[in-house]
Symmetry: C2
Subunit: 338 residues, 2 copies
């Protein structure tokens, strides 16, 4: 019996921050799963900032989401029907799919999860892509050394919170930037950051300089915007900048006014001998096993804490996505399909 | 008997491109060389763009030249008096000194040259700091692979000409940018570049796109300005940018007008997964022996060609320096003291 899926389609290309009208809910009839395929009921959908990039047509590392298609996402799903000996009905799997409540997928593209090892949704966050992004970008590009100072924006988000906690475990001074006093307090008290600055308060530059008395050796770039502006003058010689995101850039719709700071940035790269390097998590897939072992140990020891921001039902997904891009999430953004 | 040195002093901090009045010639009495010291008569003085950076007070990797002091330079000198058993009168040495015709130096800071191995002034250029800059920046940051495309500005200069020739030997497509038809012809016909574009002609961006049909994998940054602007849209995923100079930036005296291209550059770093890394030659001093052996072999085989732009006499030095910053030199800029 064919399954009907509820799907969120990209209805229009967002300009700046997406609006609810850029999306629409539709129903689609799924084909029956063929040999080697499974029918899935989605239980958890992941929302991550990279999805906003896919909604634009600008050239990037991945093709844009076509109008009328659902945006991509990772999901934890329950197997309803399996035509593959490797999976049975009832299994929970990790799958890269789309904004919808049911899907047909190849069993080979599904990773069976052990619900006894961790809450299954952790594989969408701290044990999954965002955690691995933090771990590998910090390791390969950040190259942290004890005693150095690291700064990260979006400090309580899925990636930033892990970057800061790993760096702290490795003996760095960790300074976060986040939106609002509550998040800043959480970063210091729960996550162990040495300091966390509220980006909504004035004079971020001078407050950051005070919080980084020995300058900045690693800036893990997730946000762009005012945080980057405050960081640049404080970068030490040989500082490293893993460039992983540009949330602020998604909101801009017109070229920002002058002066043109590009020549100054290039001069800074030269005179401070900086390394700026863009990456995505797939660039370091070889580290997946190492990362999962390390993170499982840190979680088991209570050395790293995880926080999730869960909304309920497919109908909540668009608002949750927009809220995340505007910084209203507090922790890893997830949608629970009950 | 004390030696009088003629010295070029920095009289004023240049604004933009230096003017002759930013310098003055003076005489100074040198102390007699003490134990372990030598009295030197300079035979060749090297002019290099980094000296312009030292004339400004902006924070950089080295302290600025103080007003009243001579700017620094490498030199080939003849030993007149030696109070050290390692050097004898008549020896020719490489020394890091300043814009003057005589000096007293520690023998330990002098490197004795073998004039039979190469023309001694080559140690100021292709066998020296500029050549080593090209070799090490290309090797460690550029990481060239056969079949890739490399672009370099200042293509017939001391560093750019070596970058391009080494890359060509390693099987890359090499596209230069230089000022004027004569330099471009020389880059192709004498240096073996696949193409060289005249930056004084219009539409550099579209001409560069034509010359790089497979995009750009390595951009060796020596110039900034229009060359960088033309390069950015053509950079391939995982492109590398050794950032070694910013000649165009020295000429600017006011912040350039908008739009602000910094956010777009950061987005490009992310979406194309670029690596930008600033360096100076001292960062790779461990490679000096390897470099000198490789370059001596290339020169002996005729695989790499060297061109020098020689002016004569200390009184010609300021004009030669300004001319080099304005791109009027053609090859490695040297001052011969007869």
């Amino acid at each position: 019996m064919p399954q009907i899926a509820r799907v969120i389609q990209l209805a229009a290309r967002p300009v700046g921050t997406p609006k609810p009208s850029d999306f629409r809910i539709a129903e689609s009839l799924l084909a029956d799963p063929g040999p080697g395929e499974v029918l899935l009921r989605m239980e958890w959908l992941s929302l991550d900032p990279y999805m906003r990039g896919r909604m634009s047509e600008a050239r990037s590392y991945a093709a844009p989401t076509a109008l009328g298609d659902p945006p991509p996402c990772e999901a934890v799903a329950r197997v309803l029907v399996s035509n593959d000996p490797g999976l049975a009905p009832g299994d929970q799997v990790l799958v890269y799919d789309a904004w919808r409540d049911h899907a047909v997928a190849k069993a080979a593209d599904c990773r069976k999860l052990d619900p006894a090892a961790a809450p299954v949704q952790a594989w969408l966050g701290i044990l999954g892509m965002p955690g691995r992004t933090a771990y590998t970008g910090l390791k390969h590009i950040g190259q942290p050394k004890p005693g150095e100072t690291l700064v990260v924006g979006a400090a309580t988000g899925a990636v930033g919170s892990v970057v800061g906690q790993i760096a702290r475990l490795q003996g760095l001074r960790v300074v976060g930037v986040a939106g609002g006093a509550e998040k800043c307090r959480y970063a210091v008290e729960a996550l162990g950051f040495d300091a966390c600055l509220d980006r909504h308060q004035p004079n971020l530059g001078s407050r950051l300089a005070e919080a980084c008395p020995k300058g900045i050796d690693i800036y893990f770039e997730l946000t762009g915007g005012d945080v980057l502006t405050a960081v640049l003058p404080l970068l030490n010689p040989f500082a490293r900048m893993p460039v992983c995101g540009t949330i602020a850039g998604f909101a801009s719709t017109t070229p920002p006014p002058g002066p043109d700071r590009l020549p100054d940035l290039m001069r800074l790269v030269l005179t401070r001998r900086l390394t700026l390097r863009g990456f995505i998590v797939d660039d370091f897939n070889a580290d997946t096993t190492e990362f999962e072992a390390a993170m499982a140990r840190w979680l088991a020891e209570g050395a790293i804490r995880n926080r999730e921001d869960v909304s309920h039902g497919l109908d909540s997904m668009v608002a949750a996505f927009i809220g995340m891009l505007e910084g209203r999430n507090f922790g890893k953004t997830l949608v629970r399909l009950d």
